[in-house]
């Protein structure tokens, strides 16, 4: 937490504005506490990478930002999470709207067993877009943004399950883009992909960072340094250190961060 304060003083000036503000966030699965008071800010239109050993709470943290953890029974949140200026855990907060503004991409690509078109059109549909021409426009734009359009434009009405693993993951990214989010959460989006598809997804992230605020969980240190502007190191439910990515990797302030990035544990 000390590290975060320092970061605030020294580095916030470089960030344009804060999209996600988290303060004293604790998270409980039943009686076991998975996050012990996380405080951090996520800057707009930057890529923030979350790294740390397995089980340290990266996914848990990510999923508090769009309240996906609400789906798990017997869980509890304490502390403040502000997304785009709103306290998202305030009573009566509109979950559908939160999740429209905060998109998510999962570790295992999960296209619906529907056509490519229907996969992308689903989000806009549930948010009230009915007009076919508008839907077609959104679908094309989202697929173009996800660098998938050229590969699928002739097979829009074929099942999305016929795509390769890498294409499926980019389809899922396109699907998330289709509801016009401002923040995109990605939980190890490339960990199940081959090197070429991984590179394609990484290029895409670099492409998207001009328009979206991205938070990405990754186990791959090279990936974090390639795609992210800021990196947060989590350890056993605590945020140990957050800093500009090159700084954090070249001269970490904390011993535990250094041990982790040099591969001494984890």
């Amino acid at each position: 937490m000390l590290a975060t304060m320092e970061y605030k003083e020294t580095e916030q000036a470089t960030a344009t504005s804060v999209k996600v503000h988290v303060e004293g966030l604790r998270f409980f699965y039943g009686a076991s506490e998975a996050l012990h008071g996380i405080t951090l800010d996520i800057p707009e239109k930057q890529v923030t990478a979350l790294i740390g050993p397995s089980g340290c709470g990266k996914s848990t943290f990510l999923r508090t930002l769009n309240r996906m953890n609400d789906l798990i029974e017997n869980t509890r949140v304490e502390g403040l999470v502000e997304v785009l200026g709103d306290n998202i855990y305030a009573p009566g907060y509109d979950l559908a709207e939160l999740r429209r503004r905060v998109g998510m991409v999962f570790q295992r690509s999960n296209p619906f067993p529907k056509t490519i078109f229907e996969n992308i059109a689903y989000g806009p549909r549930i948010h009230g877009v009915r007009d076919r021409a508008t839907l077609e426009e959104i679908v094309e734009k989202s697929l173009r943004n996800a660098a998938l359009w050229d590969e699928v434009k002739d097979r829009m009405n074929q099942s999305a399950l016929g795509l390769s693993g890498g294409q499926q993951q980019r389809l899922c990214i396109a699907r998330a883009l289709a509801v016009d989010p401002e923040v995109i959460l990605m939980d190890e989006p490339a960990s199940a992909l081959d090197p070429r598809s991984t590179a394609a997804v990484e290029d895409l992230i670099l492409e998207l960072r001009n328009q979206y605020t991205i938070v990405i969980v990754t186990h791959n240190m090279q990936q974090a340094s390639r795609v992210s502007d800021f990196t947060a190191f989590f350890y056993e439910g605590d945020l140990v250190e957050l800093g500009k990515t090159p700084n954090l990797f070249t001269c970490p302030r904390e011993k535990r961060t250094e041990d982790y990035i040099t591969g001494r544990f984890g």
Binding site: M68, F106, K114, Y122
Partner: protein
């Protein structure tokens, strides 16, 4: 290496044998039915199926009333049961899918499937038939109680566990990742059920419904007790009537001429073919659905 290969071929062959045994059994049953009913079919031809008169004393045997009775009770039962079985399946598969309460409910539903049908029959006679009579009184229909509607009601209750358990399992098996994908786009729980859970599970759910329909068509004891055993064509949902299975159970013991016996076996063949046909149509539909 060779040993493994030998074991494998032996294993495959023994499984093949077992599978053949099942086919042999179906053929044997079919053979007995065809053989046993040949007298009736030779005498009446197609009118054995289309005939509306079943009168052993006059020696006339037409099965249409029972075909209609069987189909009517079974489909009516299905129609009545679906809202209940689907609600139970969704509740146990999607809403309360873990924990003690869910386990208790799940085993209660399975217990329902294990109650002997004669007990369902008794219960229906004492509790359902009076209710139907009460309804009939309100509707100014002769309050007979027993009939198609009472049979359909008890059948509906009896088949709920079958379609509900299968649908519950199917719904439970819908990948969490798919549901999360929809939630993450802002879908509500209802939308997730409507757009993900049911479409993904539909062919399995439908298969469960087909199984339930098969049970309803073949159910004998409980139906016999409340359908009124009236061997005429039903002219309303309340009329006392009969089904093929129920008629067979009632009359086989008293069949005193070879034509009578042959006609009853013929009815058995009709039921056998009807069930097979419905299963086949169901399979086609499932294939369509799962595309």
């Amino acid at each position: 290496m060779n040993k493994v290969l030998n074991f494998d071929t032996g294993f495959v062959w023994s499984m093949r044998l077992m599978a053949l045994l099942v086919i042999g059994l179906v053929v044997a049953v079919g053979y007995v039915l065809v053989q046993g009913s040949s007298e009736a079919f030779q005498k009446f031809g197609l009118s054995f199926i289309t005939g509306r008169e079943w009168d052993p004393i006059m020696g006339s045997y037409g099965s249409l009333p029972f075909i209609v009775g069987s189909l009517l009770t079974a489909f009516l039962a299905l129609l009545i049961s679906i809202p209940f079985s689907m609600s139970i399946a969704l509740y146990l598969g999607e809403f309360a899918n873990k924990g003690k309460i869910s386990a208790i409910f799940t085993s209660l539903v399975e217990l329902l499937a294990g109650i002997p049908s004669v007990i369902y029959g008794f219960w229906a006679l004492f509790y359902l038939v009076p209710v139907v009579r009460w309804i009939q009184e309100r509707l100014d229909i002769p309050p007979i109680g027993v009939g198609i509607f009472s049979a359909a009601l008890i059948l509906a209750i009896m088949i709920i566990p079958f379609s509900a358990s299968i649908a519950r399992e199917v719904i439970r098996m819908v990948p969490v990742g798919l549901k999360e994908a929809a939630y993450a786009l802002g879908a509500t729980r209802l939308e997730v059920i409507k757009d993900v859970v049911l479409p993904v599970g539909k062919s399995g759910i439908f298969a469960g419904i087909m199984l339930a329909l098969g049970r309803a068509l073949g159910e004998t004891m409980a139906v016999t007790m409340v359908i009124g055993n009236n061997n005429i064509m039903p002219d309303s949902l309340f009329s006392p009537a009969n089904t093929i299975a129920s008629l067979l159970a009632n009359e086989f013991a008293e069949a005193d001429s070879s034509l009578y016996v042959s006609s009853l076996v013929g009815l058995g063949l009709v039921l056998f073919v009807m069930t097979a046909l419905i299963n086949f149509l169901g399979k086609m539909l499932i294939r369509r659905l799962s595309k």
